[in-house]
Amino acid sequence: MFAPVSRWLPLALVVLAALALRTHDLARRPMHADEANQAVKTGELLEHGRYAFDPRDHHGPTLYYAALPVAWVRGETALATLTETTVRLVPALAGVLGVILLFVLALPLGRWLAVAAAAFMAVAPASVYYSRYFIHETLLVSFTLALLLAARRWWTTGRLGWALAAGSALGLMQATKASAPLFALVAVGALLAAAPPRCAARRPFRDVLLALVAALLIAAVFYSSFGTHFAGLRDAFMTYGFSSARAVDGSGHEKPWWYFFSLFGWLKNGGLVWQQIGFSLLAVAGLVAAFIPANKLLRGAAVYTALIAIALAFTPYKTPWHVVHLVPGVALLAAGGLALIPFRPLAFVVAAVVIALQLTQTRLASFLRSSDARNPYAYVHSAPDVLKIRGLAEAALALAPGGSIRVISEEYWPLPWYLRAFPRVGYWTEAPADCDGALVIASATQADAVRARLRGNYRESYLGLRPGFLCVVFTPAVP
């Protein structure tokens, strides 16, 4: 009776830790502008059943559709009632799934090392942070791990079912982000580096073809908005024109080639230290173990991580959430590094120390300073001031029921998310002729123009949209 418990308990504890880290107090951090965009689109799908893939921006459909069952279970049926916790549960649960998939992928290393790999990913600062972030990245990571796992199973067992599962995972990847082909190709490269020389499938070409058909069908279902918007199929191809232009020219997000490596090293910013030295050193040891002596799984992890790292390093457009694609490979390599330690009790101690160090970083990044500009994962993040917007709007409309709220700013996200429950809110990027309202929020650069056009008497205060971007809040003066 105890054998199954002792066999599964470590993994169960890791999964519970992953779940706790990814779901605790999800509503606390203010919504990033990107999250707010996605959440408002999700709200429109939830309330009106309408979604049309935008080839210019905002990536694939899976994120929005994945939020629907979560919202239904939580009793949320409209944009006004949709909450941060609901939408963020989607990447949170996808992140936990990714931890479990990594454990299964790592089993050829031995059970305790597979648990270690899963634990490293469960507590990794980037994995936890972006599992609490309503964007596509964590879903793409988990679908990629599913592809790797299913493809490996097909290669070693030859069963068509696993090929179809791999095709399904590929289709979900493609329906998540246009960059999916990059990760799929790298996954194939890693599999070839890690797999036995001979495929067990009796009809491999048929299986691959059927897998690709499954992938295409699944992607088509999502891009066509489940058969309601067939122009989305065309747009799924058109997006490559927009996204490749953005990737190549950087679009204001250019960073040096070593940017992602720095996130695994040591950074000091404004008195706060961000480091993953122990984790990275273990991974370097695992790199050695991948080749001396040769370990196919670790070799595959090394190939996967190296190819992704090179692709990310030389793409001008860089945003920190892309780093989550490196975490599974580094976690596997770190587990491989533990295998080099001859005494298992010592390896346990090393693993525990690294996990403890990672947890302090995760606590700092995801809980203590989650929207701080010094946090390398909080990229151009909304300031906590945006959490005051709803209260300001409620107070203003209590004094002027039926009044309008005006937002006049060259940038205004995530305000539409926080004002989603209010019926009369307008958004302008330049001051209109009529600026009066129950509440007027203007960027500091628009404030003079707005002030000149206000006819009433207003009290002014400041509100931060994000660090360095100030808004002036005009509230009618109470006589």
Binding site: A33, D34, N37, V40, K41, D54, D57, H58, S251, G252, H253, G270, G271, L272, T319, S371, D372, A373, Y379, V380, A383, P384, D385, G402, S404, R406, V407, E411, Y412, W413, L415, P416, R424, V425, G426, Y427, W428, T429, D434, A444, T445, R459, E460, S461, Y462, L463, G464, R466, P467, G468, F469, L470
Partner: protein, 218 residues
């Protein structure tokens, strides 16, 4: 006769036509446009640059900086970054290692001038390397180190009394390298306390330097 009898009803009809029932004008308001990831562009200080130097604040002859090197206490006794001594060490640069960071929620710092003083002016530098506004800045002078009695408020921009130190009428301001110069109008006391409640960039409270200018009361 008929014209005169019709005049009043006609006038009334004309007036009724001119004065119609008033209802609020309902306009269609533009919806928000979806946008991509905001770019990490550093914006300049947003206050209009002043022409010439800051107007002089006139103080009595013999006014000196009373706070240089004086002890500082705080509601946050274990600052996350820096030390409370940074507040009166004379370094206002605002670079790393020159400011103290206090935790979130309202926090105060308090300077002990050593003896009762007549305060002419207080100059305060919060974190000023970026355009930001500190919320609910309140500056007080008192002889009571617990600030329960004899408290004079010399600056208060907490317009909704969220810090429970009274409703203030002073304007919030954008931080810059010049610091905020506050006319203390001769308020007397041994202690000067400065409060704030986060800022437009984060929930934390920061001080680079505080200077209390005045003269000790003999």
């Amino acid at each position: 006769m008929i014209r005169s009898r019709l005049a009043l009803p006609l006038a009334f009809l004309a007036l009724a036509g001119a004065v119609q029932a008033q209802v609020p004008l309902q306009l269609d308001l533009p919806k928000p446009l979806f946008a991509g990831t905001p770019r990490p562009i550093s914006l300049p200080n947003l206050e209009k640059p002043r022409v010439g130097k800051r107007p002089d604040l006139m103080v009595p002859a013999g006014t000196v900086n009373l706070s240089k090197g004086m002890p500082v206490t705080s509601s946050d006794s274990l600052p996350v970054i820096g030390e409370l001594t940074f507040i009166t060490d004379g370094d206002k640069s605002g670079t790393d290692g020159t400011y103290v960071e206090l935790g979130p929620t309202p926090q105060w710092v308090q300077i002990d001038l050593g003896a009762k003083a007549k305060v002419a002016a207080v100059a305060v530098w919060h974190f000023h390397s970026q355009a930001r506004v500190y919320h609910d800045v309140v500056v007080q002078v008192s002889d009571d180190k617990d600030f329960k009695t004899g408290v004079t408020t010399i600056f208060n921009c907490d317009d909704d009394d969220s810090s429970k130190l009274g409703k203030g009428k002073d304007l919030a301001y954008i931080e810059n390298f010049e610091g905020k110069l506050i006319d203390a109008r001769g308020a007397t006391g041994r202690y000067v306390r400065l409060s704030s409640n986060g800022n437009t960039s984060d929930e934390l409270n920061h001080y680079c330097e505080v200077e209390v200018h005045g003269a000790l009361v003999k």
